[in-house]
Each structure stands twice: as C-alpha cells, then as structure tokens.
Symmetry: C2
Subunit: 330 residues, 2 copies
C-alpha cells in the first residue's frame, strides 16, 4: 500500500478520533467491525474505486472481489467442515457396508478414531472422498449436502455449521455488493459441496463459486440425462490453483481478495499485481476465547508465508480479537 493511501487512512482515523461519525444519516455499513485500520482500509478502498471521475474509479463490470471460504467466511476448526461432512457420511453409510468394520480407513472412522484413520495418508483420504463425494448424480449429492447442513451441529458451538460463519464478513459481502461488486468464493473446498448452501447463507449464486472439482460424467439414465460424480479429482483450487481457477472461471483479475492462510497467498499476490488501486486482506485468527487463535503452527489454515508477505507489502491484516465486535451471527 502506498504512503499516500496510508496517509489518507490516517486522516480517516484522525477524523474519527475527533468524533466525526461520517455523513449524517448514513448508517455504518460494517457495524460488527470495530473502528481501526482494517475497517478503514476497506471503506477507503470502496469509496475510492466507486467515486466516478476520481483517479481510482473502477467501472462496475471490473469490481471483482474474491473470498476464500474456510477460515475466511466460516470457521475451519477443529477440522474443515467439509471433512466433518465426509465423516458423518461414512457413519451414515456404514450399515450398508458391513465390510468397513474391518477395512481401513473406515474401521477407525466408525470407531471415531480420526488419527488412526488418517494414518493411511493421501490414500486413506482419497478413499474417504470416493465413497462420500462420488458415485451419485450432482442432484443427489446436492440433496445429501443440504440434508446434512440442516441437521449437523458444530461440536464446540452446538449450532449448525452454516451459523459458524463470520458476521463481519457477511456485512463485508453485502457492503461490496451494494457498491456494485461481484463477490466470488475462491476456495479449496469442493464446488458442489459449497453450491448446495452458499446462495442461501452468503447470498452468493452458484455461478460465483470457484472451488476444487471432481470429475463428472454425462450419462443417460432411463430417458434422462444426468451428471455423475466420479472419484477422480479434476482441479485443486488452492495455492497456485487459486489464480488459475480465477482466470479459468472469471477471465479477469479481481481488484480485492480476502483470505486467511498460506493457501490464499498466490490469490492475494495475483490480485495486488494488477494496475490501479487494490485491496488484499488476511483474517488473522487471534481470538482463542470467542473462536480460535492459530497461525504458523496450525495443521489447518496454516498462516505463515502469507503473513510475512502481508507485513512486507502492507496488506491489511484483520486481528480477529480486536477488529471484530462479534464473531458469529446472533
């Protein structure tokens, strides 16, 4: 971020510290964000790119914002929610598969021993994904996920996973859309898994979801065409995959990107390397009490090189504990 932008941000903060609440009658678009550098960086950015005739103005068609999902829009601890879905699904399918009682990784999973189940490494994970995410049509899979979303509850918060989303980020999504942005999800999660619920929960339509993808097969069953989910993986939307997924899907570079882990580093880099004013933001999980505190040493959502790059380049870093007034929706 340039010195010039930094000074403007400072000016904004000073105005606030002199008790200036913004234009009269204008409601705060981000009420769950405490006043501070992160909130100010967002508002300054949006004001500048939407002000017609100003040097940083960006036409609405180019106002593309990219959001990671796990750890950025919803929580990701104690394990990725999509993986929790897969484990629940294995348990639900176990009665139809008596052979799993003696077959790893299923035997350990059914006993609830996640560590033993995952001792099989990538092969174990692939087998779990194959039985839970393939072998059905896309419509059938959507119905399975939607049923799970309505019934499963987060072990710590005892509420649906879809209520373990971040209230400040919901406000941010809505604020950007009100200002003419398209808000894309760009996540390592499975695209079919996310599309089953993101429209209702985030207001993001299926065509604005980019994710990892399994192979699909077009087939005629009876007289009806169906798309069958196959076990093979087609695309991993993580790390270098994120800018590639963005290019394949959107075909233009975002002007704002939001993430929380090293898996988002390339997406933020790619976003910031374009011309004109841009915004890169990392959510730093610093709130052990209300959520979790983790970064460099976490297995899930590792934040290390991206945090270094954010500090070196002046990207915005949200300190969850201090910047967010509330974490989850009431």
């Amino acid at each position: 971020m340039s010195l010039w932008v930094a000074s403007l941000m400072l000016a904004g903060l000073m105005l606030r510290s002199f008790g200036e609440p913004g234009p009269p009658g204008e409601a705060d678009p981000l009420p769950s964000w405490n006043d501070g550098a992160a909130k100010q960086a967002i508002i300054t950015f949006v004001d500048k790119v939407t002000q017609e005739g100003a040097p940083d103005f960006v036409p609405p068609a180019e106002r593309i914002a990219a959001f990671d999902n796990d750890g950025t829009l919803w929580a990701e601890q104690p394990l990725y929610f999509q993986f929790a879905f897969a484990l629940d699904r294995v348990k639900a399918l176990a009665t139809q598969h008596p052979e799993w009682k003696t077959k790893e990784p299923f035997a350990s999973l059914i006993k609830g021993d996640l560590k033993a189940a995952l001792a099989g490494g990538e092969r174990a994970l692939t087998e779990i994904l194959a039985v839970t995410h393939a072998g059905m049509t896309t419509d059938e899979f959507q119905a399975i996920v939607q049923r799970w979303v309505r019934t499963a509850r987060h072990p710590r918060f005892n509420r649906p996973y879809t209520e373990c989303i971040y209230q400040p980020m919901l406000e941010l999504l809505s604020y950007l859309r009100t200002n003419g942005f398209k808000t894309y999800i760009v996540s390592g999660g499975g695209v079919e898994f996310m599309r089953a619920w993101v429209e209702e929960i985030y207001g993001i339509p299926p065509e604005e979801v980019i994710g990892s993808m399994g192979q699909l097969k077009y087939e005629i069953r009876g007289a009806q065409p169906v798309l069958v989910k196959l076990p093979g993986v087609d695309f991993i939307d993580d790390k270098e995959g994120k800018p590639i997924g963005i290019q394949r899907h959107i075909g233009r570079r975002p002007i704002a990107a939001f993430g929380n882990s090293d898996g988002d580093r390339q997406m933020l880099e790619w976003t910031m390397a374009g011309t004109g004013l841009r915004l890169a933001l990392l959510v730093h999980h610093t709130d052990e009490k209300r959520e979790w505190a983790y970064d460099r040493n976490s297995q899930i959502g590792t934040l290390s090189t991206a945090l270094d790059e954010a500090r070196a380049k002046g990207w915005t870093v949200v300190d969850m504990k201090n910047d967010w007034r509330t974490i989850f929706p009431k």
Copy 2:
C-alpha cells in the same frame, strides 16, 4: 414441446395473420427475424417465463441461456475462425522459425497447403496449437488475438471476422438480457481466444464465457506473477463436455440453449431435461447464397443426430434462409 405450447404458438401466428401487430407502441425486439414459428417460439417462451405469477414464471436468477459460438453466433466456414487465427499466426511466426521450412505441418501451412498440413492428423493439430496458443502469458495471448481481430479479414466476405456474426442472434442476445437473462457462451472454442473480443462484440463479459481450456501455470517473472499458457489441453467443451462445462462453471441448468451442430446436442438435451418451460433452438444453415448451406455431410459443424433429435422432440429449428431477414450486421 407440449401440444399446449404448440396451440399457443399457432394462436400467436393466427393473431399475426389477422394483421395484429402486437401491443401498440411496442417495438419488435427481433427485427431481423421474419415472422414464423422460430421467432414466435422465442417470444412466447420469453413472455411466459418473465410473467410474474404465471405458471411458467422463472425468477431472474435462474434465467440462464447458453449459446454455442461457432455457427450459432458467428460463421464457421470455410474453417473455424480460431483455426484461421492459428494459420495466420504460424505465418507471422515463420520468420523466427527457419526450421519450419522443412518441418511438417509447418512447411505445408506456410505454402498454404492446408490439406497436406492436416494429413498429420491430431499430432499435426496439436503442434499447430502448441506454437500458436501456448508459450506466452494470458495477457500476451489476449493482445495477440486482439491485434488479429482488428486486422484479419474473412476470405469470402472481405470483412473482419468479428463482423461475420449473425445480426438476428445479436438481437436475440440483447432481447434475452433485456428480459433478465444471463447469456452464456458455451463453445468448443478456446476460452482465452473468445474472451479477447466477445465483450466488445456480443456484450458478453469474460465470466460468462465457457470454452475449451489449455493448461495454465502460475509463475513469478521478475517480481510479477504471470499465468503462462502451456501446450497441454485441460478441458474440451464439446458434446458431453458442454453439460459438464455448464455444471462446473454455472452450477445450474440453463432454461434455454442455442446451437447449430451435433456438438451442441447434449447441451440442448441437458437444458430440456430440467423441470418447467424450456427452449432449445438449432440454427440450420440453409442459405447458400447469403451464407452457406450445410448439415449432415459437412466436416465443420456437422448437423445430423441433433437435427433428428430436434425433429423427434419438437425443438425449434431456424431455417436460416427463410427465418432470417438479414444475416450479418450492416
């Protein structure tokens, strides 16, 4: 199409034959279409899905229309325009590649002997694509295509390829968008090739273009990240690939699909197999004089099984000669 819809269409035609020109003051949204079954099928469909409270009403978010490009939105004879681009590109690069003088398929291409060049089959084609569509960044490729589009001219019509687009289809795109549709391109053509010009020519933004895709690589050059186009093919958006591409990219089924060849059959099938009112339309090239007449025996844009299915299932078939008042924009 149901008997009921057919009767309504007939009623519409009868109204017209009695000299009823439609509500006073309402301009014809499709002036380049002659009155007839195809035009009436389109207008009846749009009227029904946009009439709030009516049984066939479709909310705007679900108004997805999918258009093939080659032979549906622009011409495709005497050879696919993207292939004409590749040949021009080989000629432009030849001075930097003296070894091509004795190396097939390039030697024949430079001499203008397309038939000999393509005698090498798929391997020849792959080599041509590799040198013309890979080895540069996505930004560089876009600039190359945009330069070509501005300078190359169609051999028969002696006008830019981007003026060999169909005026009646431009009106249809605009008519659908005015009625709240998103108009996607779903083409076997390369996605990066199309995105270089479709926004200006069709008013379709890059994120609404689905096409075949080459492999991409994320790389840091100097301090700048770039996406490099690799020779490998990642996805072929043709035949079964079209419904798969639609699912991967849009995540919901179109309610209207437009094509002209057997490569579009599965896309039309997939579109029509959803619930509620739907429209499938094939452009039949029947106008030797103003464009071309070809179907079952054409190498390019073969229309055979899709024409049979259209007739069996009552899909709309445009007879280019009789249904279109004009072919290209003036």
